[in-house]
């Protein structure tokens, strides 16, 4: 019965050791999918390379379905699985700032570490920027504190917010993703680009 650490089936140290191994798998999948290349990542925003969309949505849907089925079979207690809280204002403004960083820098935090790991100097510089940004937020937190806590909605699920069952939302998400994949395949043919 999972999740293992909250149920104290494994010790804290075992949990940390598994975190390291899960991290290795995470880094491996990101790098081998091409996420260590900023030009591949940025391709989604111009249509010439849509690997981000395909990997990201396939990944989110696979994990979502996995959790729903494991819960159905009684293998994982979803009440003990962390659901990110929703602070509406900071979720939107934080996302907007991150989106601007994405199109300028060509990486997100996880992918920049992968790029840096294989020697991409632009990725290393992006990582330096990440640290500056986090220090910047920490030292100016007083200015943003109100914004940070504004419009707290609890830990709602998107399915609840839309008034439907988890399974139905999951099905609609899969259909939406398949539609986006069709557009993505079309875009890659329409805006071809030599590999780099």
């Amino acid at each position: 019965m999972g999740p293992l650490a909250p149920y104290e089936i494994i010790s804290e140290n075992t949990n940390f050791l598994l975190a390291f191994f899960i991290g290795i798998a995470f880094g491996w999948v990101l790098e081998s999918s091409g996420f260590s290349s900023s030009r591949k990542l940025a391709g989604i925003f111009y249509g010439y390379d849509t690997v981000v969309l395909k990997v990201f949505f396939t990944g989110a849907i696979t994990a979502m379905l996995g959790l729903l089925f494991m819960s159905l079979f009684g293998w994982v207690d979803l009440d003990l699985v962390y659901v990110n809280p929703t602070y509406l204002t900071s979720a939107i403004i934080g996302g907007v700032v991150m989106g601007a960083g994405f199109i300028m820098g060509g990486f997100c935090p996880g992918t920049s570490f992968c790029g840096a790991a294989i020697g991409k100097i632009d990725a290393m510089v992006f990582v330096v920027g990440l640290f500056i940004g986090v220090y910047g937020f920490t030292f100016t937190y007083g200015w943003w504190e109100k914004l940070y806590y504004a419009k707290y909605l609890g830990e709602p699920k998107v399915s609840e917010a839309l008034g439907m069952k988890d399974g139905l939302f999951g099905l609609l998400l899969i259909i939406a993703a398949l539609g986006m994949f069709v557009v993505a395949e079309w875009a890659e043919k329409k805006f071809p680009r030599e590999e780099y």
């Binding site: 191994f21 290795i24 880094g27 690997v51 602070y87 934080g94 997100c108 920049s112 294989i118 920027g129």
Partner: protein, 178 residues
Amino acid sequence: MSNNIKTERGKKYLNPYVGGVLLGLVLLAANFVSGRGLGASGAIKSVVATSIEMVDKDAVNNLPFMAEYAQSHSGSPMRSWLVFQMLGVIVGGFLSGAVAGRLKLKVEHSPKITSRRRLVFALAGGILFGFGSQLGRGCTSGSALSGMAVLSLGGFITMMAIFGTAFALAYFFRRNWI
């Protein structure tokens, strides 16, 4: 092995749908083991918190964000799941790059721009992403991807804000990429 890591275009990258399923299984494993998803910016926050504590032992009282952090994280900030996971990411990324023959020290950029311009934008983008990840309580991994897997409303909103903004601004930064 070499056969299934070649895409239809002959590059040695994983097929994106296969990569996506594998990413989903990794995320599922994280949730099954720890009860939480994957993350990246949280590990940076741990390192930042540790460094501030080293310089200023009283930081928890002086800096409100450090107090907020200490409230939600007991013990040393480096004894954190995401710190160990991110160390793994660096190892895993390196190993994958080594196996595929992609280890090379270089600045990757469009032939139309200089390395210097690429690095200036990489730094600026990193600063914005680092700042935004703290405001938004997580980045593409911790908030968007992991949030979506547990159907978090906030995760979906952050995902749409990140990708929507990048799409909206793409025109202005097109010279850097195309």
